[in-house]
């Protein structure tokens, strides 16, 4: 019985080959449809990304499409890095400036306070002397100038 079927099939070999080829073709067709759908989807997403970056995908020329966009995106990345770096540098400089200013002012304040305190001590002594002698002399006048931080007139 099996032999009978086989001999019958042998007669239809050409048809069977045709059937196999048609099957393979159909299978490839289905695969191709899936690939094309994937490709269209990928291109579509790329177009969306490009549009969001502000540059057209450029679909007119197949070879050039995406080139402008890629360049633009690379530029954006570089800008971002550059901006971060410059911002950090500006902040660092501002902080250093503020700190240097404070240090300098503290120093000036200390010098001024020391000079004022020395002058005040001298003034106290001179004024006590003036009080005792009921007389104002050169030392007292000089002490007043010292307290005020002034020089005597050069005449």
């Amino acid at each position: 019985m099996i032999r009978a079927i086989l001999s019958k099939l042998r007669g239809e070999a050409a048809f069977l080959v045709l059937l196999a080829v048609a099957g393979a073709g159909a299978w490839h067709y289905v695969l191709f449809q899936q690939v094309r759908a994937d490709r269209d989807d990928a291109v579509h997403r790329a177009e969306i990304v490009c549009a969001r970056s502000g540059v057209e995908w450029g679909a007119t020329d197949t070879a050039a499409r995406g080139v402008l966009c890629a360049r633009h995106v690379a530029g954006l990345v570089a800008f971002r890095a550059d901006a971060d770096q410059q911002t950090a540098r500006l902040f660092a400089k501002a902080m250093a400036d503020a700190s240097a200013r404070t240090v300098k002012d503290n120093q000036a304040a200390r010098l001024a306070a020391e000079a004022a305190s020395a002058a005040a001590i001298r003034m106290e002594t001179a004024d006590a002397e003036a009080e005792r002698r009921n007389r104002v002399d050169r030392e007292w006048l000089a002490a007043v100038n010292g307290v005020a931080g002034l020089r005597p007139p050069t005449r």
Binding site: R101, V144, R151
Partner: protein, 78 residues
């Protein structure tokens, strides 16, 4: 263009940015001898002290706003 931008702080008018005025003080001649009542002496001393405080403070303020504009208080004077 960076995200953070350095801004020059606007300075006060130029007349406010002038260093403290420090005129010549009292003459210190050895020949000048006077009798001054205690209260007037105390007043002179008060004014001298206030003058120094105000002038030094103003110079520091100007230097804070524009570095090295005025001589450092306490250094230039004796």
């Amino acid at each position: 263009m960076p995200v953070a931008v350095a801004i020059e702080r606007p300075l006060p008018p130029a007349d406010l940015m002038a260093c403290a005025e420090r005129p010549a003080g009292l003459p210190e001649d050895a020949s000048l001898i006077a009798q001054i009542p205690t209260t007037i002496r105390a007043g002179i001393i008060r004014m001298a002290r206030a003058f120094r405080t105000n002038a030094d403070g103003k110079d520091r303020l100007v230097n804070w706003l524009a570095a090295d504009s005025c001589p450092v208080p306490g250094k230039a004077v004796r």
